[in-house]
Amino acid sequence: MVDQRLALQTSAEVTFGERLSATITVDGQSVPLDDVTAVYWRTYDVRRLPAVLAADAEGANGAALGAAWGLEEALVVWLEMATACVVNRPSNMANNGSKPYQLDLLRACGFELPKTLITTDPDAVLRFWTDCASVIYKSISGTRSVVSRLGESHLQRLEHVAWCPTQFQQFVPGRDHRVHVVGDDVFACEVLSDADDYRYAGLRGEPARLREVRLPADIVAACVAAARSLGLHLAGIDLRRAPDGRWFCFEVNPSPGFTYYEANTGQPIADAIASFLVSTAPRGGASGGL
């Protein structure tokens, strides 16, 4: 494991001439990345790493952050270009940074998509609200926001949407489901919560409960297809089953925080990821190069 908490003690070298070659060194111990056959990566914002914050607070004046960023960039280059199996390639994860862009990519996968309006016009919001009867608003980008229902209390500040395009979607009643796709394996659970955003239900004193479920075969197939179409070996897909039986897709998360779901359902998602990584190793040992 390459521990991001040791970023300030880590150096790297990436070369490209006739082939890609990379080495990472942590506390004097070097590992040629050419020997790596599969990798799972999930990093935190380098600006928030405790070691970086501490070093810069102690007088490094941004040098620690600069070093950590430089390391991350070098590793991202390798992750992007390595012949190893990468869960997941940075470029394949990028579409999650624009929710409407990603949803458009998912149109062909067989899910229903919620009606969406992005606007700086309060009158357009009101017309959309009338049309949909119930509306939520949430961020357009990958910045996490609390999905919230539009209500009467918002009317007096609706004019503020003029400052920035804001995303509104039809509220879809029903039951949330979270589906983790690992290769061809699917782990689905139902979220038992009445909150508009179950991720924050606990803050309101009613934490969500999770229950493992079996999905209809066509939805399983749609989930696998969705992950595959986005180039993702691992994906966390947010679905909602409406009372009329339709399945709506809200988002495909390319770096899902699956441990919460595993801890609450017992689903062996981590094991599945590990097995997937092992399964990609070529017979006869490691291979390197392009």
Partner: protein, 249 residues
């Protein structure tokens, strides 16, 4: 209407808009995204409206777009309170990625999720694509010292990456605009194989706009890097873009 998306401080973009004014060119900046009147429904991408300098116009009136703004930086948003600029920049970037991608009119350089002007590749990726396109490259090595190593050596704040300074004399700069290769005016004629290779590279990475640099090593031109941008202050490039937008000048 021809739409030029650019930074509010991009003088070349402003010049381009003035050059194209007779063809109905208008400048779109991030300031326009903070005006009442944008309406976009991803399910019906042809409908909707946008705002240009306080004028609300129909999406259907746009016949062509060129994007000269790679991303939305907080510095583009003086109209937003400082503590909100980073978030608003993210939201505007995410919106523009989706909106530009959905337009049915001619867009010279479609965005990618990380860049509004086209593919955003790392230096090494550009080199690999160049090799695949049949170009000879100048090898690169990226060595990142750890913070601990830098501190021990007394090395000051690093640049984002450490790259070796070799004897790389810039010998040629070529641009590709909508599939057509355009050399810099002062450059010597370039080998046709390099021109073909560069056009293949632009097509392979789907870059509607591309500028590549070449270095001379022992009399041979080697590809040394590229970016999805061009110098729009050049009349020849402006004319090629206009043609690509379907306008006969």
């Amino acid at each position: 209407m021809l739409l030029v998306l650019a930074s509010r401080s991009d003088a070349s973009a402003a010049t381009l808009v003035r050059r194209w004014r007779g063809h109905g060119a208008r400048l779109l900046t991030c300031e326009d995204l903070s005006r009442r009147g944008w309406v976009w429904n991803p399910d019906v991408p042809d409908d909707g409206s946008l705002v240009l300098q306080e004028e609300c116009v129909s999406l259907r009136s746009i016949r062509g777009v060129v994007s000269l703004l790679p991303s939305v930086a907080p510095s583009e948003l003086p109209q937003i309170v400082a503590e909100e600029r980073e978030y608003v920049a993210s939201e505007m970037m995410a919106f523009l990625v989706a909106w530009l991608s959905s337009l049915r009119c001619r867009v010279i350089n479609r965005p990618t999720p990380l860049c509004l002007t086209g593919p955003r590749l790392h230096h090494e990726q550009w080199l690999r694509e160049a090799v695949r396109a049949g170009l000879s490259i100048h090898p690169t090595s990226r060595r990142v010292l750890s913070f601990a190593q830098r501190s021990a050596a007394g090395v000051g704040p690093p640049s984002m990456t450490d790259r070796p300074c070799g004897d790389t004399r810039l010998a040629a700069v070529l641009s590709v605009v909508a599939g057509r290769c355009v050399p810099a005016p002062t450059d010597q004629p370039v080998d046709g194989e390099i021109v073909s290779g560069l056009c293949r590279l632009a097509a392979a990475v789907r870059a509607g706009l591309l500028t590549a640099s070449f270095v001379d090593v022992d009399g041979k031109l080697l590809f040394a890097g590229a970016a999805p941008i061009v110098d729009v202050s050049r009349a020849d490039i402006a004319d090629i873009m206009l043609e690509a937008l379907g306008v006969v000048s």
